[in-house]
């Protein structure tokens, strides 16, 4: 027995560990790692519907993406603006909502149920109802806003209003996520520091800033990390609300790669764009992870 286990280089415990992750590992290799390899291979080729020879062209497609003004001036800024605004505002609103809901009042159970709705409803449906509610002529919210005397906005025909609508939709979807996690975290906090602060006659705002926030910091950091990674690949809301328009001005990274592949039918260039996105996320992801690790050690 011992001879065999040294031959394989794994002892009984390690073999059990490998056995436990084997199915997950196989699926991951076949349906994520191999496609990524194939995509990388395709990104070095001239491969489109009009030219299906798949000739090797080296880094030409990467250069083409990096010199594309749409990519540099629209797609990259849009993607990061969406990421920063969506995560930042949802976090702030989520904390505010969690503080509001973190006290008993009549109807609290109903509010908690309602807050779950944006998380369980498909983003496609959410985007559809936002598109209808903000319809230029008949949208209920558009009409309500002009009834309030606000200037008429053609929500989906100009760059900034459309992009603002995309961001608002994203915030609508993700604020509840922050709220629920923050609420759970707040309810798990020890009561003594709050009692001490109240005895010292601290104002509610002061308690929130100096007691609640520091104690929630580890949870906040992990949430921001997860959300930032996911916000980078936002596709559904943008595709349904604006389709990247008007004039490609609200395209984000996923939409850009999708349009290259399935509208322009340029597989090579799309694969290069997809690869660039994956690389950017690899750096952002690893960087954020390092940051989290460091700050978690500090807070401990």
């Amino acid at each position: 027995m011992t001879a065999r286990s040294t031959k394989f280089g794994f002892d009984e415990r390690e073999r059990f560990m490998l056995f436990l992750i084997a199915p997950a590992g196989i699926v991951l290799v076949c349906f994520e790692i191999i496609p990524i390899m194939i995509g990388m291979n395709a990104s070095f080729r001239e491969w489109s519907l009009v030219n299906p020879q798949r000739t090797w062209v080296g880094p030409k497609q990467y250069i083409a993406v990096f010199t594309d003004p749409v990519f540099l001036k629209m797609v990259l800024p849009n993607t990061f603006v969406l990421m920063i605004l969506s995560v930042g505002v949802s976090l702030a609103l989520g904390l505010a909502l969690a503080s509001l809901l973190n006290r008993p009042f009549f109807g609290r159970a109903i509010m908690r149920t309602i807050i779950l709705l944006p998380l369980t409803i498909a983003p496609v449906i959410t985007a559809t109802m936002m598109r209808w509610s903000f319809n230029d002529q008949f949208g209920v919210i558009t009409i309500f806003l002009s009834y309030l005397g606000l200037p008429d906005v053609a929500w989906l025909s100009d760059r900034w209003p459309s992009f603002a609508l995309v961001i608002m939709t994203d915030i609508w979807i993700w604020t509840p996520w922050f709220t629920i996690i923050m609420l759970a975290a707040m309810q798990g906090l020890p009561p003594e520091p709050f009692e001490a602060a109240r005895i010292d006659a601290a104002t509610p705002w002061c308690i929130f800033r100096r007691v609640t926030l520091p104690m929630l910091r580890p949870v906040i950091i992990v949430c921001v990390l997860i959300r930032a990674i996911d916000a980078f690949r936002t596709f559904d809301q943008v595709w349904i609300l604006t389709g990247g328009g008007p004039a490609r001005s609200t395209e984000v990274f996923s939409v850009y790669a999708y349009v290259l592949a399935f509208v322009d039918l340029d597989i090579g260039r799309a694969a290069a764009a997809a690869g660039i996105g994956a690389l950017i996320m690899l750096f952002v992801g690893v960087g954020l992870y390092r940051l989290v690790n460091r700050s978690m050690e500090v807070s401990r």
Partner: protein
């Protein structure tokens, strides 16, 4: 006197903000629901008039594509949930109970592949699926969903096992139970509430998934999200039918929110 006024003012502000939150989150859903029960003529000013009808739903359910898409999404979500959880439960258990270089490298792998944007691997996956002839079939849609869930749910599963005291498993091992027995007979039953919570999240996330459906499904195996998207972009003016389809597509979400919210919250807390 002033203190009393301040007290009332604070209560009023609190009540107003709660009401505002209610309106913000329920408003758009209510608008959609109201549109879905208005006849085509009453769609454009939905707050005027009192004609209500369920014909929109009847008409939508007579379209074979919508019914087929809902059935496909249902089957796909159910299969994906069962298989994904079956696969990730072992992976999560390993991440939680063991240490060493294998555990660390598996954790890193999962984290790195979680950061990869979907489009970066679903786009080449489309090429793979067409080449293998599984484009637009259940199997071609199912396996990518499982791959996504491996990265997402191994992490959450680890959290559930972390919350379970391992001393029972140690006791079982000392009593002569195998490692597999300790996992299967002791740890797994204890983790069941957590797994139930994950099952609901997993099912909903497959039902709601759009990018995979858009790229990997077509006419043969339509899914509900891509069918809806087609509706929005192609027949963007029939808002009453659109809304009826959307209301049907959000039924599972509503049911889960009302009846299974305990599980949803448990799953979201990580």
């Amino acid at each position: 006197m002033i203190a009393l006024a301040l007290h009332t003012l604070r209560h009023a502000i609190f009540a107003i903000s709660i009401a505002a939150i209610f309106v913000v989150f329920v408003g758009p859903i209510a608008i959609l629901g109201l549109t879905s029960i208005r006849p085509a003529s009453g769609v454009f000013y939905i707050w005027r008039g009192t004609n209500f009808t369920f014909n929109n739903f009847v008409e939508v359910l007579h379209q074979s594509q919508v019914v087929e898409a809902m059935w496909n999404s249902f089957v796909l979500s159910t299969l994906a949930t069962i298989l994904s959880l079956g696969i990730t439960v072992g992976s999560g258990y390993m991440l939680s109970r063991f240490g060493g270089w294998i555990q660390r490298s598996w954790f890193t792998t999962i984290y790195i592949f979680r950061t990869v944007p979907y489009i970066s691997w679903v786009l080449p996956l489309y090429l793979v699926n067409t080449r293998l002839g599984i484009y637009d079939t259940y199997i071609g849609l199912l396996l990518p969903h499982i791959a996504v869930h491996v990265c997402f749910f191994s992490w959450l599963m680890k959290g559930f096992f972390d919350g379970i005291n391992p001393s029972m498993e140690y006791a079982a091992l000392i009593d002569g139970c195998t490692r597999w027995g300790a996992f299967y007979r002791v740890a797994l039953p204890a983790a069941m509430p957590g797994i139930a919570a994950l099952a609901i999240l997993c099912w909903l996330s497959t039902w709601n998934e759009f990018l995979f459906a858009l790229i990997l499904s077509g006419k043969r195996t339509p899914l509900i999200t891509s069918t809806m998207a087609q509706f929005v972009t192609e027949t963007g003016t029939e808002w009453n039918l659109m809304s009826a389809t959307a209301v049907l597509a959000m039924m599972p979400a509503l049911l889960v929110t009302i009846f299974g919210q305990k599980y949803v919250i448990r799953g979201l807390r990580m």
